[in-house]
């Protein structure tokens, strides 16, 4: 039994999109913390 091309495609594109979203999320979190004076 093998992993299908669809499964491979889902995890590869899913992980790349996930990474991109977390990068944006981190930047947004930093801006929010900066505005609130909560960085450290």
């Amino acid at each position: 039994m093998s992993f299908s091309a669809e499964f491979l495609s889902t995890i590869i594109y899913g992980s790349l999109i996930w990474c991109a979203l977390t990068g944006l999320g981190l930047a947004a979190l930093l801006i929010r913390d900066m505005k609130n004076g909560d960085i450290w």
């Binding site: 039994m1 093998s2 992993f3 299908s4 091309a5 499964f7 491979l8 495609s9 995890i11 590869i12 594109y13 899913g14 992980s15 790349l16 996930w18 990474c19 991109a20 977390t22 990068g23 999320g25 981190l26 930047a27 979190l29 930093l30 929010r32 913390d33 909560d38 960085i39 450290w40």
Partner: protein, 474 residues
């Protein structure tokens, strides 16, 4: 590796090294101005917010292993290899509730050593210190060695020079800026790594489709697509338990639990886990594309850079160089800071100079960081190159500490007999299995034996620990 075989000319490598070295040291000096005491230096004033907290949890866990070993895992163990690697994120997810509890039980704590000494007494503390220092120093040396080897392979910079520069830079900014510099640079490094991984990933997919990768694997290496690949499935358990043991026991993570602002720890570790989770697949799949792209792979541990350089040329090689440099720095600085704090707090302050002033402790922590750097440099210089196996050797030690920590944090009836026996028995049986069977069962056996002993002792125990004793370390 000679200069001709490297992916970048040495001049470009030196230029990148100089630029990023200046950036990290400059930021370390700038952020270090805030530090007035040992608490500021070691724990950044215990006031780290959610953005920096999440980024440092993820960045510290993204070592050069993640960006370099994930493609190697994919090449050798296939789809399961990448998925197995993602289980290392469970350590961060499961540490999230523990971080909140640690902060609550030990509002003035400094290190994981403080917990062992106060919770289980001196004997358990001594065993813990031996285990964790062995593991931390091995990890530190293997990271510095990997730095020299990777910079040499990527740009032809001689091993000794590359290792010396990357270690020297991390020592310099960690000494000057303490945990604030470590966490601040971690944020920038984590963003660079994430952006680099995404750009490289989509660039590879613009040259070869997933369908082509799948077709090529089915024709040439079908085992890599096998849902029931035995070695890869065993790797899941080893990675999972190794990750749990590392995060649960090491002062790298405890120091962050103490440093995060009240209420931030749980969220920051959970978000850090979410950020880290997709990285092994995003960085690892490019190895699976090597066949479809006709890239010759003479050494499995260089498959990632070779594929990227093949697809993106010098731009790709520069991107990989920067990502690897950031991955190495984000782990090296954290290890230097956390190990230095452990030695300063648990050995110098608690054993040798209980009356040391906060300023004196801060200076001592800086000297210890420098000494750790010199020790690491001296061990790395001969380029032994076999420390990856030593790190696996530490797996049983790490696995044997999981249950004493978890039960000690949550159950009043957990006691010193359970903790001491669990660590010694678990590590002993794990090491026997390491030599008799193999690395892939050592951590699992150590964790299982330790669990049985700790749970039996806890069940039979009549003692009830007073949690208030954990907050007496101010």
């Amino acid at each position: 590796m000679n200069e001709a075989a490297a992916l970048l000319p040495p001049s470009v490598g030196w230029l990148l090294l100089a630029l990023f070295s200046a950036l990290w040291i400059g930021l370390g000096v700038y952020w270090g101005r805030r530090n007035k005491s040992f608490e500021d230096h070691a724990l950044a004033g215990r006031n780290i917010g959610l953005a920096l907290g999440s980024a440092t949890a993820a960045a510290t866990w993204i070592t050069s292993n993640t960006t370099m070993l994930a493609p190697q895992f994919a090449l050798e163990l296939g789809v399961w290899g990448m998925l197995a690697y993602t289980t290392a994120s469970f350590g961060l997810f499961l540490f999230a509730p523990m971080a909140g509890r640690i902060r609550k039980l030990m509002p003035t704590g400094y290190t994981s050593g403080d917990f062992f000494r106060l919770r289980y007494g001196r004997t358990a503390w001594a065993i813990y210190m031996v285990f964790t220092l062995f593991y931390s120093l091995t990890w530190l040396v293997s990271m510095a060695m990997a730095g020299g080897i990777l910079l040499n392979a990527l740009s032809g910079i001689p091993y000794a020079w590359g290792m010396t520069v990357i270690l020297g830079v991390c020592v310099a900014y960690t000494m000057r800026g303490g945990l604030a510099a470590v966490i601040g640079t971690d944020f920038i490094q984590s963003l660079i790594i994430i952006v680099g991984v995404v750009i490289v990933g989509f660039a590879v997919l613009s040259h070869v489709s997933v369908e082509q990768i799948h077709e090529n694997l089915e024709a040439t290496r079908p085992a890599l697509l096998n849902v029931l690949f035995p070695a890869a499935i065993m790797a899941i358990f080893n990675n999972l338990l190794f990750g749990l043991g590392e995060v649960f026991h090491n002062n790298v993570w405890w120091s962050r639990a103490f440093a995060f602002r009240d209420g931030v720890g749980g969220k920051a570790f959970a978000l850090g886990g979410l950020i880290w989770f997709p990285i092994p697949v995003a960085a690892g799949f490019i190895a699976l594309a090597s066949g479809a792209l006709n890239v010759a792979v003479p050494a499995a541990d260089m498959v990632g850079p070779l594929v990227v350089a093949h697809v993106l040329g010098e731009f790709g090689a520069i991107a990989i160089f920067i990502v690897v440099f950031c991955s190495l720095a984000s782990s090296l600085d954290s290890l230097l800071a956390a190990t230095s704090d452990l030695l300063t707090e648990d050995i110098y302050r608690k054993l040798l100079r209980p009356d040391a002033t906060p300023d004196k402790l801060k200076n001592m922590a800086q000297y210890v960081t420098l000494a750790l750097g010199l020790f690491t440099w001296a061990v790395c210089l001969p380029r032994i190159g076999t420390l990856a196996s030593v790190l696996f050797f530490a797996g049983p030690l790490v696995g044997a500490m999981i249950w004493p920590i978890v039960t000690g944090l949550y159950w009043r009836s957990a006691n010193a007999t359970g903790a001491v026996g669990g660590m010694l028995l678990g590590a002993g049986v794990g090491l026997v299995c390491y030599f008799a069977i193999g690395w892939y069962v050592a951590t699992l056996m150590a964790t299982a034996v330790s669990m049985v002993w700790v749970l039996a002792c806890t069940h039979l125990s009549k003692s009830r620990f007073d949690w208030a004793q954990l907050s007496e370390t101010a």
